[in-house]
Symmetry: C3
Subunit: 157 residues, 3 copies
């Protein structure tokens, strides 16, 4: 039986999202079944870059506007320096031929990493599935626990 | 044998505490034995709302005063906006009939989730058991490791 | 067979590093094989206090200068108050005869806790092995996953 690995990505920070995807892609390369469950601010990593027309209430529009739209807009957990930090990190990653977050997400999808959007968070923040990238799944905490109970490595990031 | 789940709640952020209790209550609903071990800032979620008269030194009084007193006072890890963020989150949670953090804590206690206060942190920050809610247990890192070693899902939040 | 515990220390915060080492030392005292994998900002806890002469490019020098050099320089995740928070924490820890972070690191090494520096992060941030304390190992995500797959307690801090 294949080993299983799950990651809850709660954080909306670029550095933490990168760490989550590096671990996920590594585990997938070792033939683990890998699930990343995106909840709370972590969902922002799954948003499409472009604005998507949706019907929303005022609060939901406020959340959508305040939160970073997609992996290219995320800030750092440390040394963000009003956005200079992420540019520095992206610069050194490019220099070292490390994959960018959008590339890491693409690789994860190619490797069959299961990307799951937390439906409860989507409800709360008013995010709709048209606003999220294609090829992902949708589930609540029960879905996460089903995977985590069968996994040996379970991380909350 | 029942499956076991443990969560270390280190963070004192409202959003992370909510995530911890949603996972804990979900796991309890699936008949897991669940332990949440409250350490460092996480202990603030267990403080009573009201001020409790205790004998304390100056530093301990400073900590008690600077740290949020109970689940209603916690801030957000992101977009706190000087307290506006938590109000927005509480508003949307209420609108969607999601349980508030105090309700999530109550539900956890009803479902038999073991809430454990870290005694080392209590010593360091000068928190006394009269300041914490009733019905909880007290242990150190050894107690946590005893539970975690038998659990399949172990998260640090 | 000995139980295994792994911790990814991603955070460069003093309080989180202390929590990681308290859990690691506790697990080692209970005869677990323990690995701490230091990645991203967590690597700062392994830096030597003194400046080490190295050849670096401008960006790498900028990172080295902006990031805290060693366990004594780390800030807090909460209530940092421009460095006053860490002093308060260190003061109460001393008062309660709790081990400081440098002492916790020393104890971990004495107990055989495996301290592993993430080589990918070292590359990205331009940290060189001469800048890190002695007696540690070096590995990438594959090394971490090898340990984590055999461990029951896996935490991301």
């Amino acid at each position: 039986m294949r080993e299983k690995t799950t990651i809850v990505l709660f954080s909306g920070d670029l550095d933490k999202a990168i760490a989550a995807f590096i671990i996920a892609n590594g585990a997938a390369a070792y033939d683990h079944d890998v699930t990343i469950f995106f909840t709370f601010w972590g969902l922002n990593a799954l948003r499409k870059d472009e604005a998507v027309k949706t019907k929303k209430g005022i609060l939901e529009r406020a959340f959508a506007w305040m939160m970073p739209r997609g992996p290219k807009k995320l800030g750092l957990s440390k040394m963000n320096f009003a956005g200079m930090g992420p540019q520095m990190i992206k610069h050194v990653m490019k220099k070292h031929n490390a994959l960018s977050l959008p590339q890491l997400i693409e690789l994860a999808q190619e490797q069959g990493v299961k990307l799951v959007a937390c439906t409860m968070t989507m409800d709360l923040l008013g995010l709709q599935s048209e606003e999220l990238i294609d090829g992902i799944e949708y589930a609540g905490v029960a879905g996460y626990l089903g995977d985590a109970s069968n996994a040996k490595v379970n991380l909350f990031i």
